[in-house]
Symmetry: C2
Subunit: 332 residues, 2 copies
Amino acid sequence: MPELRKDPIIGRWVIISTERGKRPADFIVQYTPPKGGFCPFCPGNEDKTPIEIMAYRSGKSLPNTPGWSLRVVANKYPALRVEGDINREGDGVYDKMNGIGAHEIIIESPDHNDTIATLSEKQFEDVLWAYRDRIIDLKKDIRLRYVLIFKNHGETAGATLEHTHSQLIALPIIPKRVTEELDGSLEYYNYKERCIFCDIIRQDIMQGIRIITEDQDFIAITPYAPKSPFEIWLLPKKHESYFENAQKHQYENLAKIFLDVLKRMNKVLNNPPYNFILHTSPLGNGDTRHYHWHFEIMPTLVKTAGFEWGSGFYINPTPPEEAAKFLREAKV
Amino acid sequence: MPELRKDPIIGRWVIISTERGKRPADFIVQYTPPKGGFCPFCPGNEDKTPIEIMAYRSGKSLPNTPGWSLRVVANKYPALRVEGDINREGDGVYDKMNGIGAHEIIIESPDHNDTIATLSEKQFEDVLWAYRDRIIDLKKDIRLRYVLIFKNHGETAGATLEHTHSQLIALPIIPKRVTEELDGSLEYYNYKERCIFCDIIRQDIMQGIRIITEDQDFIAITPYAPKSPFEIWLLPKKHESYFENAQKHQYENLAKIFLDVLKRMNKVLNNPPYNFILHTSPLGNGDTRHYHWHFEIMPTLVKTAGFEWGSGFYINPTPPEEAAKFLREAKV
């Protein structure tokens, strides 16, 4: 019998096919890199990107020249612009504002042939530090309300340039998906006076069936009511609302467990395209003690179709407990 | 300057690129039919589908034999099962219930080579009647709360069988997307004592810029804050919460305008893959006077990536006013 499961945070019901659970080999999804050609992200081509916002460099190399190990630049075709004041305006029943914000590219390695999974732990830790440094910097801009950081790996997952990079979009509004999580976790907090994510971590450690791996700082689980098959969450065990407030040892350990989990996913699903998204509190140091930052990783295994548009979720052919077992037992 | 626009119903902000608006030819999306081979939906193969739930037949042909013009069968691999009682159950912080529901296929034509756009007005009107007849029938089952009806056209849009068909999934819960629309429109109704969809129709008729076409009963518009480029909504002008309560002349006129709009879309976007979804009130004749049934049509032009998963919408490179102009001016 299929099962309906409710996401404990935002209250979305999803359908899980528990009987004819699809095994990893049933998902035939080819990783295709975006088309090649000239690469503006490679060392030597620094003048082909918009100006450098920041970079991690060893030695004495100058901005916008080679010598960097990680580089953050503005998106050449930004979805939002950083200049100007925010103007909200009504038009009858409709509301709009001008598109103030930032759209940045985090180039994760100078090596064109790298992917996240081939980075060293130190390199990936630097990527996490770059996320943090950019959030800290953008927090000073009081026009901005939220920083959305995400990664598209592979053409199917929406990547348009091959050279490994993440994206950052800073918004003057809080996106609906984030509001849902904030509202849902606040409702739970008001009722229980506990963080729902902390409760999930406690229960999943006790039950064990959805755990992929854990260390002293982090736990990797498949969520109870996943949006899509083989979805993975990475959560800090110690409660914290803001990603940028993590301790140094947490970034170190996060880099390790994150790479470990990506390698497990690559092994089990044969290098699928994927997205990951940082879920963190809005900018502004508001009281979000009910919220718990985390990463969500989603291999791109299924197509968004009418049912998904109409319902807001995928019919999930692999119970998260089975997905967790495959990932837990993967040798990497 | 890009623009942020707020969906007036569910409050989701979206980003619209107003400057470098993408023109139809910029979207290179090939329609690919799902793989061919033996077709269980063709006349003569009636015994290869689960038992017939209903069919429109001329003459005296028997159920589960050829002679039908439209046929509704259970899905061979249903996401939900119709047998059993609903049992809700908790597991610590988690909630689940057994997957009671229905999953049906509406085979829209006996001709394997048809698509919706090649159906006659009469044939497509029959498809709409079939949607209605199935809703009316499923309404009797008090375990069910919502009937989600949708169409996937083309492989990219999620179709897995080539022979033209829609799907129906009857659920014992109300999907989150639907709840959002119900809650949002109720909030507006409580404040204004008017239906927000009626207000949208009034304003869009007055402004004209987002109208594709209209007749006495229906209006086809591009929504002010679309989830994706070239999204189209078809709304009845007269307020009605329940699709199944439409008048006979409305089904007639809906078939006409729906086909007209699909042909315009096919012309402008060169036969794209697409999804459409019926948005209607939950089963049960509840008081949903704030809600207004409609169809949403979405050509599959862009890929779901990290930003979309994190925010709940696409960065829309074509303002709906431009999309409407292309569709309005298309000669079909």
